[in-house]
Symmetry: C2
Subunit: 555 residues, 2 copies
Amino acid sequence: MRKFVAENSRRVLARSKYLAAVSQRPTASYSHSPCSQKSPPHYSPVSLLRFLSTITTPADRSSTETMASDYSSTPVQIDTINPKVLECEYAVRGEIVTLAQKLQEELKNDPGSHPFDEILYCNIGNPQSLGQQPITFFREVLALCDHPAILDKAETQGLFSADSIERAFQILDQIPGRATGAYSHSQGIKGLRDTIAAGIEARDGFPADPNDIFLTDGASPAVHMMMQLLIRSKKDGILCPIPQYPLYSASIALHGGTLVPYYLDEATGWGMEISELKSQLETARSKGIDVRALVVINPGNPTGQVLAEDNQRQIVDFCKKEGLVLLADEVYQENVYVPDKKFHSFKKVARSLGYGEKDISLVSFQSVSKGYYGECGKRGGYMEITGFSPEIREQIYKVASVNLCSNISGQILASLVMNPPKVGDESYESYSAEKDGILSSLERRAKKLEEAFNSLEGVTCNRAEGAMYLFPRIHLPKKAVEAAGKANTAPDAFYARRLLNATGIVVVPGSGFGQVPGTWHFRCTILPQEDRIPAIISRLAEFHKGFMDEFRSTG
Amino acid sequence: MRKFVAENSRRVLARSKYLAAVSQRPTASYSHSPCSQKSPPHYSPVSLLRFLSTITTPADRSSTETMASDYSSTPVQIDTINPKVLECEYAVRGEIVTLAQKLQEELKNDPGSHPFDEILYCNIGNPQSLGQQPITFFREVLALCDHPAILDKAETQGLFSADSIERAFQILDQIPGRATGAYSHSQGIKGLRDTIAAGIEARDGFPADPNDIFLTDGASPAVHMMMQLLIRSKKDGILCPIPQYPLYSASIALHGGTLVPYYLDEATGWGMEISELKSQLETARSKGIDVRALVVINPGNPTGQVLAEDNQRQIVDFCKKEGLVLLADEVYQENVYVPDKKFHSFKKVARSLGYGEKDISLVSFQSVSKGYYGECGKRGGYMEITGFSPEIREQIYKVASVNLCSNISGQILASLVMNPPKVGDESYESYSAEKDGILSSLERRAKKLEEAFNSLEGVTCNRAEGAMYLFPRIHLPKKAVEAAGKANTAPDAFYARRLLNATGIVVVPGSGFGQVPGTWHFRCTILPQEDRIPAIISRLAEFHKGFMDEFRSTG
């Protein structure tokens, strides 16, 4: 019994320390600062991480605390786990999503229990969960590779396109023993890497080497691998955009490094200023941080901007000059919606500037989850690593080997998206129609939602030039900020929670991505099906008006 | 130029330090100690890890060193990467496999260049790479779920079994929006977890909760997640069997913990003695190591033993008493080949002893890569976690969320292997025939190879009661050990390399798994197709005789 009491109090103590730490926000975050300001108030990487973490502090701490006490005789307690795990946060599936799942369950059990009849998940870039249909050709090839026994059957001709059958045969020929159920080479099946390399060459106009490709289960494990390679301790820093996709902050936290933030400039359409990069790099270095790499997300997540080629050149030169690895998140490379912008890979930009393999270290991440295909559940992706010595590549290969290989369906799909049907192939026309239909619809949805946000009182929203998100800024009334403070939550999380409870729409508070302190945003995907956009917009507008009325009146 | 010289010398210096570290083997490893000895010489976890690492030191260091110098202006050098990555080793895809891939390439380009015409990969449990055919029903369901558009077509009835079509419909109904291309819940699709939990219940006779299941891309990521949760620093230890599957040493190294070895007793069929566990635990504790968990691999890898239920009870009691998490690698649960042994899950054993959810912390790992299905390339698997408080589970959920979800095909397959066709289903007969054919053939192959190894001079081999491996001990002549020393390689690696060069057969040296110092082994899978076993055995026997003759003569 004595042991129980001692253990329990130790745990409660640690827990309150933890809560104190996560609720300690930089005071600057409540002061109002215009988004156009060029030098946003710096706050330390540690406080930034703490700040990011506030948003996902589970709502039902007190209930889990009570329940936890029953587990006092089990060996693992919250104060004895890896603190890096505690520190890591991932708002895209954080508190708001947990609440949404709860509401969904309630709706299922009691359909009239909320003022809406379904939950609309706009928190995550997950197109097929909102009704987007997969590209037929891709799925035909995957099905045939899963069950090659039917390839020679007569009925198969009636069910599958001729070029999907041909492609399946080609792919099986590239797999040793045609064994789609075997572990592959740790980097992925060589023949598929050849196809991907050819696809990169066709895209960029510069050579690509299949030995530079590491196929992975989506892009996330690839990002983790690079963080694992680069981060030795808290003294190692990774420059990340703010706002950023929280995979980066999570991965840096899990690997024990320091996130060095650089701010995108909302006033210039989330512009990426070299002066800002430089100033943050110098600040970090002056604190003894060894900055190893620069993360660039292009097209941007959560911001949706597409970098201008000239800006990319400056970034490449900056990395070269400062000795930084350029980690280029290019998973939205096929999601560009405006005629005045075009995707350029950083490798193409670097090669165009004359930087060769041994001049600059560059990693490009690509995924089958995004683009027009949106095959998130297939967990396919790759990284192309260039500018690393053979001995470093050997280390990367070794880490890849520990997990044996990525899933073969994902590998096949990655080769398909980098080598889709061509003019003359039987599937080309239907494939093109499906692809163009999805991309042009996404463009229209982005435009409509952007206009809708901009029409709301106190909301400004940059255009979604690319990716799958809008990141509107909400100028919250003082009274709303105070109410959030009383509820011990970030003001944008307060807004998002109210939005969810009133409309069933799930968005992610800007504090989950980071933002200039004192500004508030949320990320909303452009993915709900097009015919539902008008209803969503009116639900949003009605909620927002009510919210502003409630807090304006006494503000 | 000055910078180049300085950087280069710094790198060469670090490299030589590294080489010095990895070549520093415990001297005990060369002394001969009988395998029956009950208390093997202890060597420290650090020296063990160093020792494990010797085996995969790449052969062509000097050439990569020369090449590396060209990369002197890139930011990442071997002495500036995460030292945990350097420390991690994974022999299953180490030096010998790299050599095998080289020989395979040479054979392709010049078919007569070696005294064999193909490479036989017995290094890894990868059944389909050696010709094992997938289970038809599983692949039918996967193909239909990949391309649900054909489910209603008339031709589909002619190509697929009725129950595979029905199962595909059932599974699709369990997936929100029938979207197999969407990210799922971070733990995996709820309906599939229900199926898996029901399968566990049917297996064990004790309840299983779908909320305890985390679906993962094979078992490896699940093991990493648990190591990540438990390991805070080098002061945290994980008890691992020696010999062990090197995923564990690799994962512990990558997460910066300490491997606390316990030795399996070769003389008693790789018995697991509680006295040995206790002694190693106490030794580690006396050195200030906080031992967090015990890894048990049952059936054993690389050793192939199946634990007796009584032994499992002792292990459960030991974990309970000592406050250790029991990490149970149960991926070979369907691979048992002897009538006197049966697989019992540790959860079943714990529940039979009366330990409930809040009494003991237990994680069971399962994979679709093993069993009779051997679907390695699908990367499906799960862990069932019991005995963790809600607040700890919340942390595990968060880490799972950072990678969004495991691949859906792998999730579906995991549900299928835990709920295969039943008596009365259209596919039942063919399914049973395929399953029994594979398992009985594996049993015969295990037996034949075991007998063959035992017939070799100086080789002793425990029976493969389960799993997919034999781990014969080779009593190497003194002269062979000396020759290995001169070649700066471990004696069993020396043997494995000679075996490969002479026969094309790829095995993994015992030093990659750990072994009692002074004993030498190799791991060989039982997976080559049955009709090829006699030829393999005679190649092996011929090589072994020649090897012994060569080194005996002057030994």
